[in-house]
């Protein structure tokens, strides 16, 4: 059995999560409930759960506060929120599970499945460190992100180190400053959205570059140079890129 603690400021929410767990996830047992951060931290300490359902918005703080207060690499967390845009970026970068209220069965099962899989794995807690590290920072200043692998362990990459990323059939390849290339199971399109508020710029259908790393612009030939890479830029985007680059 997997022990779980549910932290939510609304009783209805807590009830519904425990109800649904009982109904669809019999392997999980809700051992504790809390209505705010303070209580939540107490409950986690008390029950030592493997899984915590964590509401993001509570009267005395956020789910992150609970995480920061109680995290000791012993549990996985699933964030639950009715509607939250503010923390979405941070959560996505860290590849932490998030389900939305009203909770439907599929997303619950999918999130629980993903998380249960990770329980007991090595380094699976790094994502929470990334989360806490990035927490509270504007999009342009986030430090790290987690790259989910189709198989095998995830990689944690410093945002600073990314030269550019390249979209491929069902994955995205990250080209780093130290010459490494890392794949991500996420699509290129997922990252163009995720990186849009950061200092990345999509130069064509399959490439997105980190603007500060561009060493040379070749507007005539519609090419850019980053370290030893040379990339094509569509004509329309070149003009915007020139403006951006000059700003930088």
């Amino acid at each position: 059995m997997i022990r779980a603690v549910i932290i939510d400021d609304e009783r209805n929410s807590r009830d519904i999560i425990s109800l649904m767990l009982g109904k669809y996830c019999p392997e999980i047992e809700a051992v504790g409930m809390a209505a705010n951060c303070r209580e939540g931290i107490e409950q986690i300490r008390m029950h030592q759960p493997q899984l915590v359902f964590l509401d993001l918005e509570m009267p005395d703080g956020t789910g992150f506060d609970v995480l920061a207060g109680a995290y000791d690499s012993s549990f996985e967390a699933i964030f639950v929120t009715a509607f939250e845009k503010r923390f979405l970026h941070t959560i996505r970068l860290s590849e932490v599970e998030l389900i939305l209220k009203p909770i439907d069965k599929e997303s619950l099962l999918q999130a629980v499945g993903t998380v249960v899989q990770r329980i007991g794995q090595e380094r699976h807690h790094d994502r929470y460190e990334v989360l806490l590290r990035n927490f509270g920072k504007p999009a342009g200043e986030v430090r790290q992100l987690v790259l989910p692998a189709a198989a095998g362990p995830e990689e944690i990459v410093g945002v600073e180190d990314i030269l550019y990323l390249e979209g491929q059939a069902d994955k995205t390849v990250f080209y780093l400053r130290d010459g490494r290339t890392l794949p991500s199971a996420r699509t290129f399109r997922y990252y163009t959205e995720l990186f849009a508020p950061m200092r990345f710029y999509q130069i064509n259908n399959t490439h997105m570059v980190q603007v500060p790393h561009i060493q040379q612009l070749d507007p005539a030939g519609n090419k850019i140079h980053l370290q030893n890479h040379c990339l094509d830029v569509t004509e329309r985007r070149m003009r915007e890129l020139v403006a951006l680059w000059k700003q930088d």
Binding site: E10, R11, N12, D15, D60, A82, F83, I103
Partner: protein, 687 residues
């Protein structure tokens, strides 16, 4: 009368016995016997004098001859100066010293030389001035002692073109007085007529001058000149009427100067000038006007010439000039009359002018024709008798002219009246026109003013529209934000979550209730977000529903109360849509977030702060806005923006509707240290 006397005298002469002819040289006469008009021609010796001789002593006695042809009983035209010396010797055969009177007639200049020691006496029409009783001096006293004889000389000089009766006679004192009486009576009638005429002329002159001052017309002026000339002329004629009163005897020469020149002046110069003006010949008959004008100029020159000649002592030449003028102008004047007569129909004034002219012309001509003086046809009135015809002519002349002038004045007046009427008409027309124009102008101004006002309003509207659009945009933005903020997505999904729970728990009644309330809230939110103002009743219902849903979520953790002043007509008051909701939501959130109190209490109060001011108070017992803010400082970019949006909306509404919505936020702990919570006071003016 004269004739009678003369006939009588002649008769007497014829009867007188020729016994005295023996002493042709000396008349022997009993001075005491009555002597009445004794013809002394047989005893007179004459000598034609010359300017150099001025005393009888310088004439040789032999030069005196008897010449009875010199004497005449009537007026006579003179063509040269008649300078005669008369010598008369007489002897008093009576027993007493007595005085007889020697009379020869009314002459221009007479000098009487009695024997010494008596001194010579000078008299005459030309010499006697006002300082002497002149009419007494034409009979010279012949005084001799009984038996004494004496020789008397009389120097007669007639320079004028007319010589009065020249007949030497003797009177005794009584008969001389009688003679004087007769003469005075004889001339009285003539003088009377002249005086009458003068009176009339003076009256006319006065009237003419008065008229002229009233209506300055040149013809009146010329007529006045003509009248004045006539008046002076006739007044001067009195000078030659013996024993009559006269006006100008202080200046005996004046009558000679104003004789021929007067006639030229009155009947030619002024007449023609007057005709020109009176008939307006310049416009109507330029040819005649020219003729009259040149005639007048010529006459003027002749007048000056005549006066000069008279001043030089030549009285004959002016008479010749006058006669010449009369004869020369006779036919042309007649022609001009005919020419004028042909125009009578077109010009009524011509009639007056013609009648006046013709009456003088014809009467004078007739008078000249029937002249009783034995001088033949002459135009010189001095030589014409009866004089009354001439006077009548002049009088008619003057009267017709005067009447013509009045008629002319009438015409002028009529013309003036007509012109005035026309002027008045024109003026009225002008006034009408002006009025019309004014009305038009006013209309135009009105139109333009309206146009300007319209444009201004349009502009204003445009500006307003633009502002509205701007505000609208801003409002739309804020409203969008407001919708997002006010229906907190959290709230929506939490609600849905709750409903889900009820469904899962098979509590369908609650689920239904929750669902319908939720639907109501969403519907109202969507509805209100499109409106700026909603009624207070709607707002209250909305808040009630909202709080009801919140309470369902939080159950006993919160309670709320909406207090409405019973005097408020909630359906009529208006509040900005969705303005209160963010504050209420905040209050709900904060009210439950107080560890010291189990239950969050929320009180919303509506009351009238003034007759037109709605006051909403939202009060909670939470931790207070300040502490809440401090707690929330963790994510710095996060801000509960609902209240901010409400504040912005209030500002925008204030601008848009020119109203003054005020929002006060008070932390209770500020007022009282042991108290906590937040009070939001919103003042909404009612329009």
């Amino acid at each position: 009368m004269n004739r009678l006397i003369v006939t009588f005298l002649l008769f007497c002469c014829a009867l007188r016995p020729a016994g005295q002819a023996f002493a042709q040289d000396t008349l022997a006469l009993d001075f005491t016997a009555p002597v009445r008009e004794l013809d002394v021609r047989p005893y007179l010796q004459l000598f034609r004098g010359s300017p150099g001789i001025n005393a009888p002593a310088s004439i040789p006695p032999a030069a005196f001859v008897q010449d009875t042809a010199v004497f005449h009983l009537h007026k006579k035209a003179l063509h040269t100066v008649n300078d005669r010396w008369l010598r008369f010797s007489i002897k008093n055969t009576g027993a007493k010293t007595a005085t007889l009177y020697f009379f020869t007639g009314w002459h221009d200049a007479l000098t009487w030389y009695p024997p010494a020691p008596q001194t010579p006496v000078a008299t005459g029409l030309m010499t006697d001035r006002g300082n002497v009783s002149r009419w007494d001096r034409f009979a010279f006293p012949v005084q001799l002692a009984p038996g004494q004889a004496g020789t008397f000389y009389l120097h007669v000089v007639n320079r004028f073109y007319r010589e009065n009766n020249f007949m030497p006679v003797l009177f005794d004192a009584v008969n001389y007085a009688e003679f004087r009486q007769d003469q005075a009576d004889h001339y009285k009638s003539e003088a009377l007529i002249i005086q009458l005429l003068l009176g009339m002329l003076l009256v006319l002159l006065a009237i003419t001058i008065i008229n002229y001052t009233q209506l300055p017309d040149r013809s009146s002026l010329y007529f006045a000149g003509y009248l004045l000339g006539l008046i002076i002329f006739f007044a001067l004629r009195l000078e030659t009427k013996p024993f009559q009163l006269s006006f100008f005897h202080f200046c005996p020469m004046f009558k000679y100067y104003w004789d021929v020149p007067a006639m030229l002046f009155c009947f030619y110069l002024m007449y023609m000038l007057f005709g020109n003006m009176f008939l307006s010949l310049r416009e109507r008959y330029p040819l005649l006007e020219k003729a009259y004008r040149y005639g007048a100029i010529a006459t003027g020159v002749l007048i000056v010439l005549c006066i000069t000649l008279i001043a030089m002592g030549n009285y004959q030449a002016p008479a010749i000039i006058y006669k010449a003028v009369y004869y020369i102008t006779f036919i042309p004047l007649a022609i001009s009359f005919i020419a004028l007569a042909r125009r009578t129909r077109h010009h009524p004034l011509v009639r007056f002018f013609l009648f006046g002219s013709l009456s003088l012309f014809l009467l004078s001509f007739y008078a000249f024709l029937v002249n009783t003086e034995p001088v033949g046809f002459t135009p010189l009135p001095e030589l014409v008798a009866p004089y009354n015809l001439l006077i009548l002519g002049v009088l008619l002349h003057v009267l017709f002219f005067a009447a013509g002038l009045s008629y002319r004045n009438k015409l002028v007046h009529q013309e003036k009246t007509k012109t005035q009427e026309m002027l008045i008409k024109q003026l009225n027309k002008n006034k009408d026109l002006q009025r019309k124009l004014n009305v038009q102008l006013e209309e135009l101004v009105k139109e333009q003013t309206t146009e300007i006002l319209r444009k201004k309003m349009e502009l204003e509207e445009q500006r307003k529209l633009q502002l509205d659009i701007e505000y609208g945009k801003k409002l739309a933005e804020i409203e969008l934000k407001a919708i997002r903020a006010q229906i907190n997505p959290h709230f929506i999904f939490n609600c849905l979550n709750s409903i889900q729970l009820f469904v899962m728990q098979r509590d369908f009644e609650h689920a239904q209730k929750y669902l319908s309330d939720f639907s109501y809230l969403i519907r109202k939110t969507l509805d209100f977000s499109r409106r700026n103002f909603i009624s207070l009743a709607d707002e209250i219902t909305y808040l009630n529903t909202y709080l009801g849903l919140e309470k369902m979520r939080f159950e006993q953790k919160m309670s709320y109360e909406i207090v409405i002043d019973p005097t408020i007509a909630a359906a009529e008051l208006e509040v900005p849509a969705m303005l209160l909701q963010p504050y209420v939501e905040n209050a709900v959130k904060h009210g439950m977030n107080n560890d010291e109190r189990v239950t969050g209490l929320l009180v919303i109060t509506f009351r009238l702060a003034a007759s037109d001011m709605l006051e909403c108070v939202i009060e909670d017992n939470g931790i207070g806005i300040e502490r809440s803010r401090a707690l929330r400082s963790l994510p710095p970019h996060h801000q509960s923006s609902g209240m901010e949006i409400s504040l912005n909306r209030a500002e925008l509404l204030n601008k848009m509707y020119n109203t003054d919505i005020q929002i006060e936020i008070i932390d209770k702990s500020r007022k009282q240290a042991n108290d906590s919570g937040t009070i939001i006071r919103i003042f909404i003016p009612q329009l």
